[in-house]
């Protein structure tokens, strides 16, 4: 396989007056798995379809493996795609589906068979050659779809929300297999999803999109711990948004005052003064009342299995908190004292 890089230079896609994608630029390195993540309607699927060539950009240019492919139609691009609906041809059996791309290229029939069977072996689906797609389970259809895309040895492989039609257990298994396959064959994979946990589990890097633009790009950990703005903070997991004051700013750090608490945090070039802070639910530590910190009262408590979820009323805001201490649940109305952990607290904007 010859994995290729992808580059978007100021790409826009307009439908009439409406911008589905508005002036986005990014680079995807060869051999990596990058996820386009965002809420529905953010332009992530349009972006994916522009990589495939199913949509042509209104302006800007797209490079694959360094070559300009902006105006090249989908059938001429060295890109394969696994569709959300799998899009298996219902009148062809498994082998014909997988071999279709090769047949179109007029490969001799024995070669088509051999390569299709090899691809099916790669995805771990053997012995179903003669079945029609309607006779397969969802997970098997998914594998056929992947094999059909792989068989052409594309330099870029695209996945459009590939797990959305599977049940929860199969979803985890398939995403592990996709990640495993990508690393085994060192493919360039672009993956679209709106599920933040799925994105973090499979990706080398994540491009978070919002309102037709790129909100932030980075490694999963960076995005979670250092969200650039309120949207990314909220979309990458739960976050409490509270207002604090930034003081004593030096080269990298500043003191953030939150009611009675003060934490020293990287200030991320925000000016001193009032700032908005994102606090992850697990970054709030619950202590006994009077143990120092910020006083609060448990307002709601929910046991959801592995963890406890609390809503705790404090002077600055109602905070959503996750606690691992399932053995010692707190009752509604119980007084507590809160402190903040080092990770999971980020100043995100001047307020």
């Amino acid at each position: 396989m010859k994995a290729a890089s992808i580059e978007f230079c100021s790409v826009s896609k307009l439908y009439g007056e409406v911008a589905a994608v508005n002036d986005i630029s990014f680079t995807i390195a060869a051999g990596t798995l990058v996820t386009l993540l965002g809420p529905s309607g953010c332009g992530k699927t349009t972006t994916l379809r522009m990589i495939a060539g199913l949509e042509l950009p209104t302006s800007g240019s797209i490079l694959i493996g360094g070559a300009d492919v902006t105006r090249i139609p989908a059938s001429e691009r060295d890109v394969s795609m696994v569709f959300q609906s799998y899009a298996l041809f219902p009148h062809m059996n498994v082998l014909e589906n997988v071999g279709y791309g090769l047949t179109v290229q007029r490969l001799p029939k024995p070669d088509v068979h051999a390569k299709a069977q090899a691809a099916l072996t790669t995805v771990g689906l053997t012995g179903f050659d003669e079945r029609l797609p309607s006779e397969l389970s969802g997970g098997q259809q998914q594998r056929v779809a992947v094999a059909r895309a792989l068989v052409l040895e594309p330099s870029v492989l695209l996945f459009d929300e590939p797990l959305s039609n599977l049940d929860a257990r199969l979803r985890r298994q398939m995403r592990e297999e996709i990640r495993d396959l990508q690393q085994r064959l060192s493919l360039t994979v672009v993956y679209v999803t709106h599920d933040q946990a799925e994105a973090m589990a499979v990706s080398d890097r994540i491009i978070v999109m919002n309102k037709a633009t790129v909100a932030q790009e980075g490694a999963p950990r960076d995005l979670y711990e250092q969200p650039k703005d309120v949207f990314v903070a909220g979309f990458m997991g739960d976050a409490n948004r509270v207002r604090g004051t930034l003081e004593r700013v030096d080269e990298r750090f500043g003191d953030v005052a939150l009611g009675p608490l003060t934490v020293r945090l990287p200030h991320r070039n925000l000016p001193a003064g009032s700032v908005e802070i994102a606090i992850r639910p697990e970054a709030v530590e619950i202590g006994a009342p009077g143990s120092g910190g910020m006083a609060g009262t448990v307002r709601k408590a929910a046991y959801i299995g592995g963890v406890m979820e609390y809503t705790i009323a404090t002077d600055i805001a109602d905070l959503f908190v996750i606690s691992m201490a399932v053995d010692r649940p707190l009752a509604v109305g119980a007084p507590v004292s809160l402190t903040l952990a080092r990770h999971g607290v980020v100043p995100i904007a001047a307020a």
Binding site: R71, R77, F89, P90, T103, V104, L132, L158
Partner: protein
Amino acid sequence: MSFDRKALVFWLAVGAVGYLCVPWYALDASVLSTAWLRAFTAKTNAPALLQALQHGRTWLLPIGALLLASAALLLPALDRNVRAFSLLALGGAGFLYTFAQGFAIGAQGWSFDALAHAWRPFATGQFGMGLGAALALSAFAMLFALGLAERGYFNGDAFIAGSIVAILASTAIFTFYPVLNIMVSAFQDDSGAFSASAFIARATQQKVWGLGCLSGGPRCGVAWNTLILALICGAGTTALGLAFALVVARTNFRFKKLLRAMSILPIITPPFVIGLALILLFGRSGVLNHVLEIAFGIEPSRWFYGLPGLVLAQLLSFTPIAFLVLIGVVEGVSPSMEEAAQTLRANRWRTLVDVSLPLMRPGLANAFLIGFIESIADFGNPIVLGGNFSVLATEVFYSVVGAQLDQGRAAALGLLLLGFALAAFFAQRWVLGRKVYTAMSGKGDSGLPTPLPDNVRRVCYAAAIPWIILTVVIYAMVAVGGFVEQWGRNYTPTLKHYIKAFGIETGANGLLWVGAAWSSFWTTVKLSAIAAPVTAVLGMLTAYILTRHRFRGQSAFEFGTLLSFAIPGTVIGVSYILAFNVPPIEITGTALILIVCNVFRNMPVGVRAGMASMAQIDKSLDEASTTLGARGFTTLRRVLLPLLKPAVVAALVYSFVRSMTTVSAIVFLVSAEYEWATTYIINRVTNGDYGVSIAYSSVLIVLMLIIIWIIQRVVGTRRLGRRAGVGPGVVPQLGASAA
């Protein structure tokens, strides 16, 4: 992307053959007879190059030059933009020049005096275009399409570009150009000069808009007649159609299957057969008059001819169409809405009036407009049953073929008819474009439909049961009518009508087809069989492009295609006579014009069947095929066509059947050599020869039934797993009557 060199070579070769090897002009005999090969260089038979060099038709030289110049584009070193631009320029120029010279130079040299004054006159004229010109024109059009693809239009797909150009060009030539012609003719006075007053005089005649019937006079104008009939027919078919739909969807009526089966009757029945059978029942020597005379001594009269007969005939003919439209609407009303109304304490009557009927309102309006359009386009019933009550469709016909022979009047009346049809068409688009309340899926709703209130159910039964009985009686009439000596006078069983129409004798040289009907029968079958595949291919291709591709000007393309469907057959017939009677396209009186007419009249069926079934195939299948390296044509052939096979077969059969039973347009175009089955029957009817007419009609109906039955047996057994829903359901929606 590699340039589509093979396509360019192919179309250049087509152009070269057209220019160098085959007769440029239309021949008196068929080009297939190859008699022209023996006198290859003659003034009538020669290809274009010889015509130019030997016979002084030098205006054909630039066509060759343009083709030659296009061949230079095969050079591999050419820049892509230069090649694209040259293809567009040469293709466009060639197409336009070839047509322009055809129009400018007629049989006697220059066609227009102004041109003759400006240029030196030619010693010779030219004939209508033939095979050679057609090939050259196709080549130029396709060069233009290749240029479009090369410029990056339609995703650079040459097949798509070529299809769009071909559909546009053929629709323009065979639909919009004739209609334009009718407009021009309507505005020309007798000397051929443009005159608005001539049109106004024709369109506002007392005979057209007179209101004599209101003030006790004998009759109203044809325009009023047409409108009155259409309003009654629209309202009546909608009411009856709704009653039948409610019976089928909301009651446990025992003969539901029979009602559904009857809905295919209008498809297989030639449009005048209902009228004919009604004559046997209610006409002067019909059964009813007979009974009345015997029982009460009432003198038989022609009371049935005119409005009463027409209303009954059209209600019988078009109610099944309204039923097909409304059954979808009734079934689309979500049962859970009705259940919600009932939990809010509404009884069944209130639920129907307050919830269900308002939800169906757009569907009812649509059904009304369809009935209206069918009625004004109907030709077959008025011509056998109209009597003194004339409508626009028949009046146009009599203006052309009758003693009047006034083409200007025919054009003006045709234009009026077209105006009515288009007004209804736009009203229908407006109705359908507004909010649709009914659920499209019909699935995922676990509610049970509310039964009808008892009195409503009784009303529906009261409408449905007599209708079923009458329909059965009518078809029984048709079945029996051909086997009696003379209807109304002598009911002795006989085979003489069948022998007269379809007699076969064994002579010295084998079988002799002595029956009077054989000639028109075989012409109809043969030409319909030629037209059907062309119709199906063009229709499917149009449907594919409309549903699967997005390009600039698409909405205009779609609108133009839909608009051409709304043109009544009578208008098409008149306009074909006006447009194709003179060079450059001179095909009146040939088999070709009958084929072409049927193809473009029936295309809507193919397009609709195609669009309906393609809507059921997820677009991601095409995209998957595209990302796997298949271009437009491969995707269509390997992915869509196999899935669409039932729809393709249905379109094929349906267009064949409609060709067989068409009247309204074809009646203008038949000739002594090429007679159509339906026009032959109508001629027999107008001569009072009911026996042969009925015999011939029943043969046609039985033949259609057999064909449809065979096809459903063959197509009905395909297994496609999940997507088996792609069925041969064809619902005629608008102006698509076989009339």
